[in-house]
Symmetry: C2
Subunit: 214 residues, 2 copies
DNA sequence: AAACAGCTGTGAAAAAAATCTCAGGTTTCC
DNA sequence: GGAAACCTGAGATTTTTTTCACAGCTGTTT
């Protein structure tokens, strides 16, 4: 009955494992061991086994993991075996670049809407995805059953569009701005993904690392 | 002498604190308490104080933190008070969008080079940043003293350009592809930042969450 | 068929991180 | 000036996460 939940660090590592398994399948490999996975992800084999253990029984005791089976188990546990609708908010250079990224469907995500506050832009842009003015966000998110949103608007509009997405019942948000969003204690998950933010984090690691080396 | 190092989770939280402080400065606020920061970041005040504690003595015992001073301390500890050179590898839609992002310098980062393997593209693109063919990556990274690289190439080239960046002595990489890079045990830090990867992680949280609610 | 090398899964141990408690210090307001 | 409300910093405690050790299974090789 698996009552106790999977630790978040384990979840994110298992997402990486999932990715590796995809690569293995493409190279026609059918079996993989915890130490092979560990090496590829620079982690240790014990941790790989413990993480996989959270999924229930998947390994062949004494004989590694069946790549396909492990991948399917992760997919089933994490809900990666079904399509999810997504949208892009803000159609500047970054937003349109993402809107035109061809591989979302390969991974099970379908961009079903783009939003932009500048009406002129909506009329001039030529895309396969239907576009809407930003004031319709909540409405369209609900109607199209959109689970995931990508925020690519200017900093000053980030909080506003977030509120609208949440009002529409969105379940997850990828925030591409450096703004730290205020989230009500609804069950909406946020992933902050700004290059500036990551640059700062990397700078910190670089700086602290060079200090300890001395 | 601060011999013991700051835990990574604390580092990334302090980066968020840093961001908040910026906002506070812009609104003219001079003092802030741990619980105010905590509320804004939905964490708890004890944890905020412990994190700040890693920086040494910065608070006014009994009277909150001086916003400016705290920000400067984080900047100094994390090396955020100096400029760093960065580059973008891969000038497709995403790469060029990033190359044209105006705010890097505001945050202390200067994009000093763009790389692209398609020579035609290099000649047709009009940018303020000097562009180079990809085979010159290692060379240019070394010559221009580039610390940080952004990888925005197609999946199949990701590992190749990574190897070149490392050969040039890069210190940090933001990997925008879903590929999991193989890194030698040099001191290069990687931040994986692919929308697909984050979508998967969010899907996992959404799925596991809805299971436990039942 | 037996021995060996290599594998998983699990419970125990260790390490790391988050949380709590409390001893003081500050400010504000009467 | 004194009380109340609020604050930081640090040690102790609890919780979470990682690492380890080992029992038991599998496939291969001789």
């Amino acid at each position: 009955m698996e009552q106790y939940s999977i630790p978040k660090p384990a979840i994110s590592r298992l997402c990486l494992v999932y990715r590796i398994l995809d690569e293995l399948i493409r190279s026609g490999i059918q079996t993989v061991s915890s130490s092979q996975i560990a090496e590829r992800l620079s982690m240790n084999p014990h941790n790989v086994r413990k993480d996989i253990g959270y999924l229930g029984d998947v390994g062949n005791l004494g004989a590694g993991y069946d790549v396909e089976k492990l991948k399917n188990t992760i997919a089933a546990t994490f809900g990666l075996n079904r399509q999810r609708n997504a949208c892009v908010v803000g159609l500047g250079r970054l937003g349109t670049a993402i809107l035109n990224y061809e591989y979302f469907e390969t991974y099970g995500y379908v961009i079903v809407a783009g939003f932009e506050s500048n009406i002129n832009k909506i009329e001039t842009l030529r895309t396969a995805v239907p576009l809407f003015p930003s004031y319709q966000i909540a409405d369209v998110v609900r109607r199209f059953e959109i689970d995931l949103g990508i925020i690519a608007v200017p900093e000053q509009s980030a909080q506003k569009v977030t509120d609208q997405l949440i009002k529409g019942g969105i379940k997850g948000i990828v925030n591409l701005t450096p703004v730290i969003l205020k989230i009500p204690h609804t069950h909406v998950f946020i992933s902050n993904m700004s290059i500036i933010g990551d640059f700062n984090y990397l700078s910190a690691l670089i700086t602290l690392n060079s200090k300890t080396i001395q």
